[in-house]
């Protein structure tokens, strides 16, 4: 089976969120995904990368965010990792409307969950967070894992 992998490492600065989105949109276009799916992938990646910068690194700009894309015949797997402060309570953080900042809506994980077929958040306090998201490429043959 053919596997295609892409890895992008970038500084934890706001302008790189748009670059991360552009990369995933290009991959989505290459996979011939419907425009609507590409829009949803862009939102999911934007949320994961924004979380890494805003929450993982608390806005600190000199750190690195890792974006990995892995494409096989059935799935597109997107992993966003940081080596930041971590999330003390992942379950709580994933609740709709949970936000540590009143200006934000606590919607990041809601969007990731709504737009992707699988979402996994692995976080260790003071070590970092890895968000893994999977999109099934052929819905007629793929089923949710739960």
């Amino acid at each position: 089976m053919n596997v295609n992998q892409l890895v992008l490492t970038f500084s934890s600065v706001a302008e790189n969120v748009g670059i991360a989105r552009m990369l995933v949109a290009s991959v989505g276009a290459q996979l011939d995904l419907p425009l609507n799916d590409i829009e949803e992938l862009k939102v999911a990646v934007s949320e994961a990368v924004s979380n890494a910068i805003i929450h993982g690194y608390r806005g600190e700009s000199g750190r690195l965010v890792l974006l990995e894309l892995e494409i096989n015949q059935e799935t597109l797997k997107i992993t966003v990792s940081d080596e930041g402060c971590g999330i003390p309570n992942v379950e709580q953080a994933m609740q709709p409307a949970f936000s540590t900042d009143p200006e934000r809506m606590g919607l990041g994980f809601v969007f990731m969950q709504s737009f992707m077929d699988e979402l996994d958040v692995d976080s260790t306090v003071n070590q970092g967070t890895t968000v893994t998201m999977v999109k099934y490429l052929d819905r007629s043959t793929a089923f949710p894992s739960h």
Binding site: E103, M105, L107
Partner: protein, 133 residues
Amino acid sequence: MDAVELYSEQPMKGGFFRMEKKIERQTLILRLDGDLDMKTAETLRQALDHEIERRGIRIVVLNMEKVKFIDSSGLGVILGRYKKLLALGGKVKISNVPPHIYKIMELSGLPRIIRFFSDETAAQADDEDGRGA
């Protein structure tokens, strides 16, 4: 209506984002163009807070016709200005939302608290209480 004025500090720089504003008495019409994410949301927040605090703007109409992308950072700024204006007796209205942007806004629940209009004229003509149906 005053002549159209552009925020020219960062025209389409980096975040591919631009704003065009029109002010009439206490109403600000802001036409947004580009991606509304964590980078550009901050630019929008500063612009709106400036108009609300310094110029006494109480009604903000956000024309989203040319918005290509929005995520929770962009939605958070809109919600934040809604709360701020509500406390001051003002309101936020949204017009010309493209369908794919509306889908994201709908999922956030924003249309339940902010009124959406087909165009700027309809938004300006509306004088009711700003809460949606």
